[in-house]
Symmetry: none
Subunit: 421 residues, 2 copies
């Protein structure tokens, strides 16, 4: 089974947006045993979209077109597909109704051009929209093969990543797996780690990796993912999911034997296991509430934590004390350098008191561009107070302003995790 | 002049690496008036590389192949180019010597396979390597056109971004400009907007777009960019940058005449003009400080604001009052529904008082998954207090939890912007 990708959008060719969608789809397709041998970027031009689509359909069983489904004059994917299907576009009343309701629910008038998104090539099926206004399309195409007509399938999805991913997982992947009829299934399990470099992990896992290279199944890959952690992904291939799990169980244990100390979560399908979700679960299991005091991160820790549904059971709030006077007036931080373990500890006590929380976690540091209190850019001081103890830690983090701030979030939450565990 | 791009590497198709090289090249080419109409990713397979290269050379005057120049068995770009040139590879002693010296200078033994990088198609010129071990290639190709043979040019550069960029600027761009002999340059100007849907903007700009379609220069495109705002990009082509600016000035004004009310910033090269940077500049110009009270966003507004270097001159801090008791105890919010304009206003007053700020901005709402205080998911109540006034606003925002929270950030900051402006 081969499924190529056609990314549509002049902004992609102009480099104003980097096409990460086709890479994501390529990874998903590979993980499910489907080849993706060509991925093409083309601009908002019907003639060129049609030409590329027809070319890809010669060798590929399926093609996913990503982008160009919006309501505006330069959204031309629907027209191109209709041309390749040699059919016409017709309005789909059900789709139009969904779009009207979407605007109505926001109390906004719907500009008429939104109905362009309800135009569907005759013979195509809809992938219902759940997040945006444009539905996806599943379009059967017949091409002239060397030995007569051949069946192909074209999928169209919006270029907005979360809409694309939703439709890919909900409709495209199942359809492709159904058609591929592959005898075996593939399952991936990801161990999320924090506290060890990629090369360090690689070194500690040398023997395991060498063994995996011999057996060939499962495979192991490292994925550096910023403040999502450094991921170690095991991918197993077998005749059914249970057999995959047996393999994954065995090798997850092998990996844990070497680097278990830095593993904070495990994912296999389902929701991502983020550092903040792990910390919230640990706090919930202890019946402890959390209060934050943030300076260098400006609210980023609270923002991440409240990104997890149900955080309100545990999370009280955060005192973002960016100005020194606020640290002193609201959190009772004593005079002195504010980038210090003493200040961080005082902030943690202040957060615990002001927010009436069981646990107080505080961050103060230097994100740059310039040093502060004689501390270099990258310095992070963490203060942590819980019902039966307290501690502080100073670390030096790499990266520019935003990366340093993001690493500060996961590093401080990891300290809390290790303390609770 | 048209120059397409062929990115080589199976890891690109598998999504292990995102191809940002072709986007960078596309931006550079456009900035110099050279079209790049197709950008293709292909794996490490000679047959497919050759097939794609030959296809691209039909319509493009030049093709840049990026990647596959390394020393290992799966670096096949040289072989593919030789096949397309219908010639053979010969060792280049000068290149080999440079590679040997590079290893010697690092006191390292040179694995023999490095000499593969000294193999050059007969008839090709070298782009000397200054950073890596693999040189780039400039390869004249003759293809069979409809009216007989036609001249094309193929450039090959390593996939390592800094090596690619160095060779692109040093050798490829000058060669392309020489060959294109085109006298004109291209400049883009982006207007960032908030408060109108993409389809709404499109409708309000119908007449302008129709006129632009006639004149053909500048071009106009919409880029929906989440909480970065909805971008309207004008791209002008002229004999020099000043002439571009004249065109852009004229049409920016035409666009502003129609939708100026929702434009919050303008970019033309240089740093991005984000909503938070605009708001910080407005506050700075008034000498006013800012204090926040966040609930639904959990700290996201403060995090965005403190992402701007120099925010500390204006930003005092944020009271992230996620728990209802914190709203009451820290911000003196009276009992009653917390997702309401009354609560938002009380929070704004509380933030202003507790943080000793001139301006207090507060957000309370429902990000989901379930409704709250009888308010549906997507509800955002904003409270704003400044030295000579106060106001509240309730809006309904689209999207899932994270998108709703992000839209809450830019929507509340836009209300502050409009109030200050």
């Amino acid at each position: 089974m081969r499924c190529d990708v056609l990314a549509v959008g002049t902004e992609l060719l102009l480099g104003q947006i980097i096409d990460s969608n086709s890479a994501w789809m390529g990874e998903q397709l590979a993980a499910h045993g489907i080849d993706s041998l060509l991925q093409v970027k083309v601009g908002d031009n019907v003639g060129r979209i049609v030409a590329q689509l027809e070319r890809l359909l010669v060798d590929a069983d399926a093609v996913i077109i990503c982008g160009g489904l919006g309501p505006t004059h330069d959204d031309l994917t629907r027209d191109a597909i209709a041309a390749v299907m040699d059919t016409r576009l017709e309005p789909d009343e059900a789709v139009a109704e969904v779009i009207r309701e979407m605007f109505a629910s926001r109390g906004r008038r719907m500009p008429d051009n939104n109905l362009r998104q309800a135009m569907v090539p005759v013979g195509a099926r809809i992938i219902p929209q759940t997040r945006g206004t444009a539905p996806g399309l599943i379009c059967p195409v017949t091409i002239d093969g060397p030995e007569g007509p051949e069946e192909r399938i074209v999928f169209a999805v919006p270029g907005v990543p979360h809409e694309m991913r939703d439709m890919f997982e909900r409709a495209i992947l199942p359809e492709l797996q159904l058609r591929s009829g592959e005898p075996w299934v593939i399952a991936s399990r990801t161990l999320r780690t924090w506290g060890e470099s990629e090369s360090g992990l690689n070194e500690r896992l040398d023997a395991v990796i060498a063994e995996l290279d011999d057996v060939g199944n499962p495979t192991l890959a490292f994925l550096a993912s910023g403040w999502e952690g450094l991921k170690v992904r095991l991918t197993a291939k077998a005749t059914d999911l249970r057999a995959c799990d047996v393999l994954l169980d065995e090798w997850e244990q092998r990996v844990r034997n070497e680097v278990g100390d830095v593993v904070f979560g495990v994912e296999q399908g389902g929701d991502p296991v983020t550092m903040e979700s792990v910390v919230l679960d640990l706090l919930r299991s202890r019946g402890w509430s959390l209060g934050l005091a943030e300076s260098v991160t400006g609210g980023l820790v609270g923002a991440r934590i409240t990104g997890v549904p149900g955080a309100s059971e545990v999370f009280r709030g955060s005192i973002v004390s960016y100005a020194t006077e606020v640290k002193q007036s609201v959190l009772d931080v004593p005079p002195g350098p504010v980038v210090s373990e003493a200040a961080a500890l005082a902030m943690a006590h202040g957060a615990r008191r002001v927010l009436a929380a069981d646990v107080g976690l505080a961050l103060t540091g230097v994100a740059g561009p310039t040093e502060q209190d004689g501390q270099p850019v990258g310095t992070l001081c963490i203060g942590l107070v819980w019902p039966d103890g307290e501690l502080t830690q100073t670390v030096r983090l790499p990266g520019q302003r935003e990366q340093m701030r993001q690493f500060s979030v996961i590093t401080s939450l990891d300290l809390l995790r290790r303390t609770l565990a």
